[in-house]
């Protein structure tokens, strides 16, 4: 097959990759709002709506990722960087899955985080969110301006470290308290779960940095 003018597919692929990243960004924001809402109002109807919303986002994102993979293979696009791109999109999709998993778990488990530790949770949620958003900006930059990827990787790393520090501090405070052990362990699991978002974003950032260098050679 003569494959020298794949412009139509190109435009579709660009738009699908962009929409996929939008969906992951949206999922992270839904999770963040849901967590804030939960710590303020506890479990209610809005939380169930957010679960439905994030599941819709995940379905669309999966469709998009499948389509991108198919187009890239069938049209033999970007043969030299296809592996990197698909691996990157896979990692981004894992972040989305983590967001969905956290929100569904929140809706099912309804953890009892008491007032004095909510600020710690809020800070971790904020830092993890910023790390994920910086990661998504880095991914967008990888496609358009690979030389700026480093700036985003730097931000991801900063927010990951901040989230880890706050998680450590909050965790120690929880375990130093008189809370029953079962609640302590539940709170610890939630701290680690949210922090893992930032940690995974940081791993993706490391990969991004290498992929960006590969593109510049």
């Amino acid at each position: 097959m003569v494959n020298i003018l794949p412009f139509k597919k190109t435009a579709r692929l660009v738009s699908e990759i962009d929409e996929f990243i939008d969906k992951v960004s949206e999922a992270q924001m839904v999770l963040e709002r849901s967590l804030y809402h939960y710590f303020e109002h506890g479990p209610d109807e809005e939380l169930d709506q957010k679960v439905e919303q994030i599941m819709g986002i995940e379905t669309r994102a999966d469709e998009l990722r499948r389509s991108v993979t198919t187009i890239m293979y069938t049209e033999m696009l970007m043969p030299d960087t296809r592996g990197d791109v698909l691996s990157l999109l896979g990692e981004v999709d894992t972040t989305l899955d983590e967001c969905v998993h956290l929100l569904i778990s929140l809706s099912m488990e309804r953890p009892g985080v008491t007032g004095e530790y909510v600020d710690g949770f809020r800070t971790i949620i904020s830092d993890a969110g910023k790390a994920v958003q910086a990661m998504l900006q880095g991914v967008r930059a990888y496609f358009k301006e690979p030389h700026t990827v480093r700036d985003h990787v730097h931000k991801i790393s900063f927010h990951d470290q901040e989230a880890t520090l706050v998680a450590l501090r909050t965790g120690r405070a929880i375990f130093d308290s008189d809370m029953p052990l079962v609640d302590k362990r539940e709170s610890r699991d939630w701290l680690v779960g949210i922090r893992n978002l930032a940690s995974h974003a940081s791993d993706v950032g490391d990969q991004l940095a290498i992929f960006a260098v590969k593109r510049s050679i």
Binding site: M1, V2, N3, I4, L5, P6, F7, T10, L13, V14, I17, M76, L77, M78, P79, D80, T81, V85, Y142, F143, K144, E145, H147, R215, I217
Partner: protein, 497 residues
């Protein structure tokens, strides 16, 4: 056309096939190896543009080798091309760096030595200089293009996916340009040695245009290269996958740089433009596309500072340098031996003897040129065979300067021409124009012993046959006039010398 002629052309066609199957990889190797362009697309584009380049752009570079030695018998041309092909094949098998151009140059020198013809040292030194200039120029072009491309892409912020599509198109266009340049430049390697003994007559194509005898020769050679291109898949995959680990944009830079180098050394128009700017004229001769590619890759490496320099395989460069000496020497030796074999075992005429005679007319002509001829009297009237023997005689009897010696050799070369009513009828008057044709017709019934006599006779009859004073502006005119003289001398050639 006789079957025997086709047999003799076969070595050139083999050389063309081998060039196509190897050098097409320099143009489309990276694109195909990295699967940016399918092999079929690459091969079709490459084949079409190689033929176009050979037929319509081949004249410039092909004559460059003619100046080194005009192989004047088709059996000789056959052996020269075969020697070059054998050299390329053998050295490739042995894993030694080889360039078709260098093999052809060596083979022609072998023919010159065998036939007692003089090798124009000025032309040879220019050719050797281009071997050095070719990779250097490739590196310079690549460095400039790569820097510009990186800056341009950084500024344009093109999405990676769109860049991929644009790179594919750019690779195809650059490949087409590269194939055209390869055809235009390297057809001189394939068919250059057959130019002086071309078996074709000018062909009128449906009243639309005329394919000259040389263009038909080049069409045949171009088709041989084009066929070779379809056998280049294994080499393309090797080139694309292992030798040049550059990005697709880098691949585009390499192809463009290499194409520009080949184009520069084959375009008459560009050469005239450069001379028009007051810059020195450079020779139009076939150059090695592989070495231009290696130069271009090094050029990209150099733009990346110390890290890039560290990656350069300096041994490859040393090998190229050694190839500049070893390839022509081996090809010359093979050519000499093969010609001896063909002449003495198969009783074939591998060169036409050229006779030199210092007649009274020649002496008078030399005096007119301001050359002192007193010491030459002892040579007067002697018939001397071969330029080398005549030069030895000149050196023995007269102490002429190098330039005077060349004028004397040129003037004493016997070339019999007769303007008869029969050959006047088939004269291409459209090509010459009415006034020039009239002057030629006025020569009816006359015959000439030397080229310069024929030229003198025409310039006396019409001012349109006079060359203009040499300047960048008149260079084109004089070159075309020279081609017309060559056409007429071929047309009125008399066999009985």
């Amino acid at each position: 056309m006789d079957l025997i002629v086709l047999v003799f052309l076969s070595s050139g066609l083999f050389l063309g096939w081998s060039l196509g199957s190897n050098d097409a990889a320099n143009i489309f190797g990276t694109a195909v190896g990295s699967r940016m362009v399918t092999f079929t697309t690459a091969a079709v584009i490459c084949a079409v543009f190689v033929v176009l380049g050979a037929v319509f752009g081949g004249a410039g570079a092909a004559h460059g080798l003619g100046k080194l030695g005009a192989v004047n018998a088709i059996a000789g041309s056959f052996m020269v091309a075969l020697s070059a092909a054998v050299t390329v094949y053998g050295m490739t098998k042995l894993g030694l760096p080889v360039s078709t151009t260098q093999a052809v140059v060596g083979a022609i020198i072998g023919w010159n030595l065998f036939g007692g013809f003089l090798t124009d040292m000025e032309t040879l030194s220019k050719i050797v200089a281009t071997w050095v200039v070719c990779p250097v120029l490739g590196a310079v072009f690549a460095a400039i293009l790569y820097k510009s491309a990186v800056a341009g892409l950084g500024w344009a912020r093109i999405h990676m996916v769109r860049l991929d599509a644009l790179t594919r198109i750019a690779l195809v266009l650059a490949g087409a340009f590269g194939a055209y340049s390869l055809g235009a430049n390297n057809i001189g390697n394939v068919m250059g040695v057959f130019v002086s003994s071309s078996p074709f007559d000018d062909l009128d194509v449906g009243g639309l245009f005329t394919l000259t005898s040389i263009q038909q020769l080049f069409l045949l050679g171009g088709l041989a290269i084009a066929v070779g291109v379809f056998y280049s898949k294994p080499v393309m995959m090797t080139v694309g996958n292992s030798i040049m680990p550059v990005s697709p944009v880098g691949a585009w830079v390499v192809v463009m740089s290499q194409s520009m180098v080949l184009f520069i050394f084959s375009s008459n128009e560009l050469q005239s433009f450069v001379v028009g700017l007051g810059l020195p004229a450079y020779p139009l001769i076939p150059v090695s596309s592989s070495q231009a590619v290696i130069g271009a890759v090094i050029g990209i490496g150099l733009t990346q500072g110390f890290a890039g320099v560290r990656q350069i395989k300096w041994r490859v460069l040393a090998n190229i340098g050694s190839g500049w000496v070893s390839t022509p020497l081996i090809a010359a030796a093979i050519s000499f031996f093969f010609l001896f074999f063909l002449q003495n075992v198969f009783q074939q005429q591998v060169f036409k003897e050229v006779h030199y005679r210092l007649s009274d007319a020649v002496v008078e002509h030399l005096v007119g040129e301001g050359i002192v001829t007193d010491d030459l009297q002892s040579l007067a009237g002697q018939d001397i065979v071969s330029a080398a023997a005549f030069r030895s005689a000149l050196r023995e009897h007269a102490g002429l300067s190098k330039s005077d010696e060349l004028v004397a050799i040129d003037s004493a070369e016997i070339y019999l021409a007769a303007v008869t009513p029969e050959n006047l009828t088939s004269l291409d008057r459209d090509y010459l124009g009415p006034e020039r044709s009239k002057a030629v017709e006025a020569l009816a019934g006359r015959s000439f012993d030397y080229r310069w006599q024929f030229r003198e006779a025409l310039t006396t009859l019409s001012a349109t046959w006079k060359a203009k004073e040499e300047s960048p502006l008149t260079r084109d005119y004089n070159q075309k006039l020279g081609e017309m003289y060559e056409y007429l001398l071929r047309h009125f050639y008399r066999e009985d010398q």
